[in-house]
Subunit: 196 residues, 2 copies
DNA sequence: GCTGTTTCATACTAATTGGTATTTTTTATG
DNA sequence: CATAAAAAATACCAATTAGTATGAAACAGC
């Protein structure tokens, strides 16, 4: 990787960490250049505005990790019920990229940016839609193989799973404690079994 | 109500509307005094800091409406399954206090303020805990009267319902469209029936 | 109607914000 | 090594931020 591409990536990564922990609005350019040791000139050479950098974070940092942790685990799944559970369980309890007290990066940005920045909304919607479609496909496959009842509606299940995940992440954040995740996962297991 | 108490309430109400639609950080004191037509002197007479006003909003604006829409509908409920559904349905589709594109005020503040303001977290936790306890009690009652299975865990159900609500509100916000609420409610109905 | 307290108005400040203009350094290519 | 372009460094700016200092009305009880 060229040196220039490297500073660009450093900015994105460090800025993401700051934004994930502090929020987008409260992370200033000065914050970013202070922690990255990159000068303002370099920053604005790589990004026209702060918002352009924000969108780049979604597309170049969040999207790949989302693909790895949210899409791959259930893509072409032979046993979606089990894989849904494992995916959510991993995300809540094990994923080293995510921290209890900071919640879900995608959820955070949605809450903060959606009402007044269309570019953010669009980029976030793409991520979320991809997850939704993956879940729907997995449900359809499981219905073919008889692991999930035929009268189950894939879109409903997708929304239900995703919203539950987003919501409980908010609780973890509020309480700064993952014990609510344990309780949640038990009921999530019950719900998944009800689809059989 | 005295004139002074009235200006105080006006500040809280208008500030809440601004914060609900724009976010806490991006709502400035100048914004608030501009829309309330109250001077800065008056504002700082009633509130020592912006954060003190924020906490007051949670306790004096959010708490009462929460009690009305989140607690009362399921308190002492004779048929919790039905009342759970009606409560969530009302909140998502009918409550005039809430708007699709702005999400859930409590959820918004949690996301935005929790990582770096303890007072907010504490005030929000109180609200949320009250809701949780109410749901748990309703489940216990329904188990006594045979409307919900004895092996169902009230705390798990409470977390599951609340997190689903918070999460789907995030989707509505992202899409600025309540059609996801319709889909969600169908699956929510299925889930509730699985408790019988 | 006098007086003290409550309530509000005005003018200000120091710090921070995102962004720009300009210059300097680094790098690739002939 | 010369040169042009890419990349980064420096110094600045206008606007906005939460909060303050100080004084003026409004209002109470006597």
């Amino acid at each position: 990787m060229s040196k220039a591409a490297n500073t660009r990536l450093t900015i994105l990564q460090k800025a993401f960490e700051l934004i994930y922990s502090k929020g987008y609005q409260t992370t200033s350019i000065d914050d970013i250049i202070a922690t990255t040791q990159v000068t303002k000139g370099a920053f604005y050479y790589h990004f026209k505005t702060k918002d352009e950098m924000g969108v780049a974070i979604i597309e170049e940092i969040l999207r790949p990790t989302m693909l790895e942790s949210f899409i791959k685990p259930v893509e072409n799944s032979a046993n979606p019920i089990e894989d849904f559970y494992n995916m959510i369980s991993y995300l809540l309890l094990d994923d080293p990229f995510l921290q209890v007290k900071y919640g879900c990066p995608v959820g955070n940005l949605t809450q903060e940016m959606t009402p007044w920045n269309n570019q953010f909304s669009k980029a976030l919607t793409e991520l979320v839609d991809q997850w939704k479609i993956t879940i729907e496909k997995a449900v359809a496959n499981a219905q073919k193989s008889g692991l999930i009842r035929k009268d189950v509606n894939g879109e409903q299940v997708a929304y239900f799973i995703m919203s539950g995940y987003w919501g409980i992440r908010n609780f973890g954040k509020l309480q700064d404690n993952n014990s609510c995740y344990i309780v949640y996962l038990k009921e999530f297991r019950n719900y998944l079994n009800s689809l059989k």
